[in-house]
């Protein structure tokens, strides 16, 4: 940050700048931040170290270090449960829900950020408020609807990936509309007007000017929507069957009658975390900016 470089260098001489924090503050900071980092990283360490342990190590008393390092859990996870299938299901469901909600939200957010029209307030308030509703509120009726449609028409929505994707829109759609409206509002109107002068229609202005200008935001929204869908448990636990099960439910399969393969559970947890953590780290900057812009407004 530029303002920090302007400040007098803290190391120079005995005289400390008046804004330099006192030593007690520095110590408090050091202790607090170390403790907090320990708290945050503890499960990550457990996940990583346990995933490299033989089964004896995770069945007996906890050990900080593996008695021997092994990658067996990483090979076994694919056979103990059909992890690859769960992976595919999660990819399809989270990917489709993301694609659908972001596409629909691009149009809606454009309308809300660029036009005045009757019912605009009702629309935005509805979209905003559905985000605060408990998921269980939508789960019960959607379950009932799916079962009844299946019974009367034979269309198997219940247990199908399509049905699950639709339920995921209950949270990813309002979220995408809300965030994209914020991003589009930050694209200057002058850009649209320039596009109109160049002969673009409203859709031309949207796709040639607004979407490219807000592209980092759109990607951030997509990543966030994907992450949320990837981690969803409530709908997945009800709306899936053996073939459509997603990772969030499938990971419970490592617990058998006699034993829980904790080393495999940890290995699988790590494997399913990699795609979203990578995406998050890559897009951290945009995500943070977008989330906070949404929250601050």
């Amino acid at each position: 940050m530029p303002s920090d470089t302007v400040r007098a260098p803290r190391t120079a001489g005995r005289r400390r700048s008046p804004t330099a924090p006192p030593r007690s503050f520095l110590w408090t900071r050091r202790i607090f931040l170390t403790a907090l980092a320990g708290f945050v990283l503890l499960p990550v360490y457990v996940m990583l170290s346990s995933s490299l342990k033989p089964l004896e190590d995770v069945s007996g008393a906890f050990r900080w270090l593996p008695s021997e390092l092994t990658v067996r859990p990483y090979l076994d996870i694919w056979h103990t449960v059909p992890l690859a299938r769960y992976f595919t299901n999660s990819l399809i469901v989270a990917g489709s829900a993301t694609l659908c909600s972001v596409t629909v939200a691009v149009f809606a957010a454009y309308a809300v950020s660029r036009y005045q029209f009757r019912g605009k307030r009702i629309f935005t308030v509805t979209v905003l408020s559905t985000q605060m509703f408990p998921g269980i509120l939508f789960l019960l009726p959607l379950f009932l609807i799916y079962v009844n449609i299946g019974n009367s028409t034979g269309v198997a929505l219940y247990g199908s990936r399509g049905g699950l994707i639709l339920t995921y829109l209950t949270f990813s759609l309002p979220f995408s509309i809300w965030m994209l409206t914020g991003y589009f509002a930050s694209v200057p109107r002058e850009l649209d007007e320039a596009a109109y002068v160049d002969g673009c229609g409203p859709l031309g202005a949207l796709f040639r000017v607004v979407v490219p200008a807000a592209l980092p935001g759109i990607i951030a929204v997509a990543v966030y929507a994907f992450m949320t869908a990837w981690g969803e448990v409530l709908f997945a636990s009800v709306m899936t069957n053996d073939t459509t099960r997603t990772l969030s439910v499938g990971l419970q399969g490592y617990a058998t009658q006699n034993d829980v393969y904790w080393n495999q559970v940890m290995a699988a947890s790590l494997v399913v975390s990699v795609p979203v953590v990578a995406g998050f780290l890559l897009l951290q900057r945009y995500l943070v900016a977008g989330l906070t812009a949404g929250a601050v407004k």
């Binding site: 607090f32 945050v40 939200a105 509805t126 939508f138 019960l140 448990v233 559970v265 943070v288």
Partner: protein, 307 residues
């Protein structure tokens, strides 16, 4: 031609909204209406496949759920109290940790970027993967928590159960705070960047110490954002399903029986969808009232501050 063009222009926003409107109708409005209708029906498993045939029950489901002398109402009330305590504690702790961490990271120092990334990890991990890890750590015989508390520090008598009995509330709270506080951190950190640096410099020249600066400048500047943050955190923890479900399974221990899981249990384990829907409608009403009251109170506070 002109009027056609004008009509098309006036209709354009609606055309753009059409897909969103249709989907909103499909996934929010219709289910909500059906959910309300369900709550007035005697919807047991017999009628799940043909819900239209379920007999009407009037306010019966609501009477059962609010009758605190009968088992259904008593457990619901208990679950409500647990959820309130859980939410208040989660929000408080998350706010405290998030604000403290953001203030400590406000200034640039070596390792700041790394710490920021570290603090956001719980936010990036898929919820169930993280919560499963916590469930492993809380295992009685092979978990890290008992190993540290009992084997290494000798703080506990024997190895307590963390995922059963009264301890489960504590376990749930720790996990919920662990995965939620980074959001508070993120939001507060962004808000801190909007506070002008010269405010601090002026205060420092006037002889105000660090603590005083935080109390007089930082915290008051955070007030508007805190109001939004607290509300969002509250709604999240009040509706939390993922954490207890992954930590405890379909039936949470009594001490950690959050409303979402309670309603889930009443609906999908005992298959009484009528009372389940009545409970979720009541939950929604409660959240609406709290939110409206909160928004009203905070906006009035703001007006007072402006006057």
């Amino acid at each position: 031609m002109r009027t056609v063009a004008r009509l098309r222009r006036a209709g354009l926003p609606y055309l753009l909204l059409l897909p969103a409107l249709l989907l909103e109708l499909l996934v929010h409005l219709v289910p909500m209406v059906i959910g309300i209708v369900m709550s007035f029906k005697d919807l047991t498993q017999l009628f799940l496949g043909n819900w239209g045939a379920a007999p009407w029950k009037g306010l019966g489901n609501y009477r059962v759920t609010v009758d605190v002398d009968a088992p259904v109402g008593a457990t619901l009330l208990h679950s409500f109290v647990v959820t309130c305590a859980f939410s208040v504690l989660t929000v408080g702790l998350c706010w405290l940790l998030g604000t403290a961490a953001a203030i400590f990271l406000q200034e640039n120092f070596r390792g700041r970027g790394l710490l920021r990334a570290v603090f956001l990890t719980p936010y990036a991990l898929p919820i169930y993967a993280a919560v499963i890890t916590w469930a492993f750590m809380f295992q009685r015989d092979n978990g890290l928590v008992n190993h540290v508390l009992h084997d290494q520090l000798h703080l506990t008598d024997g190895r307590p159960f963390w995922l059963l009995g009264d301890n489960s509330f504590l376990a749930l709270l720790v996990v919920a705070v662990w995965k939620t506080w980074p959001f508070a951190f993120l939001v507060v950190m962004a808000a801190l960047q909007n506070i002008p640096k010269d405010l601090y410099e002026a205060a420092a020249l006037d002889g105000a110490g660090m603590v005083r600066q935080i109390r007089r400048i930082t915290l008051p500047s955070l007030r508007p954002i805190n109001q939004v943050l607290v509300l969002v955190l509250f709604l999240w923890s009040f509706n939390d399903f993922n954490t207890p479900y992954v930590l405890f399974g379909k039936a949470a221990p009594e001490a950690a029986d959050l409303l979402s899981i309670h309603i889930y249990q009443s609906s999908f384990v005992t298959w009484n969808f009528g009372t389940g829907s009545a409970m979720s409608v009541l939950l929604l009403l409660f959240l609406l009232v709290v939110t409206a009251g909160y928004l009203l109170a905070t906006s009035r506070g703001r007006k007072h501050a402006d006057a």
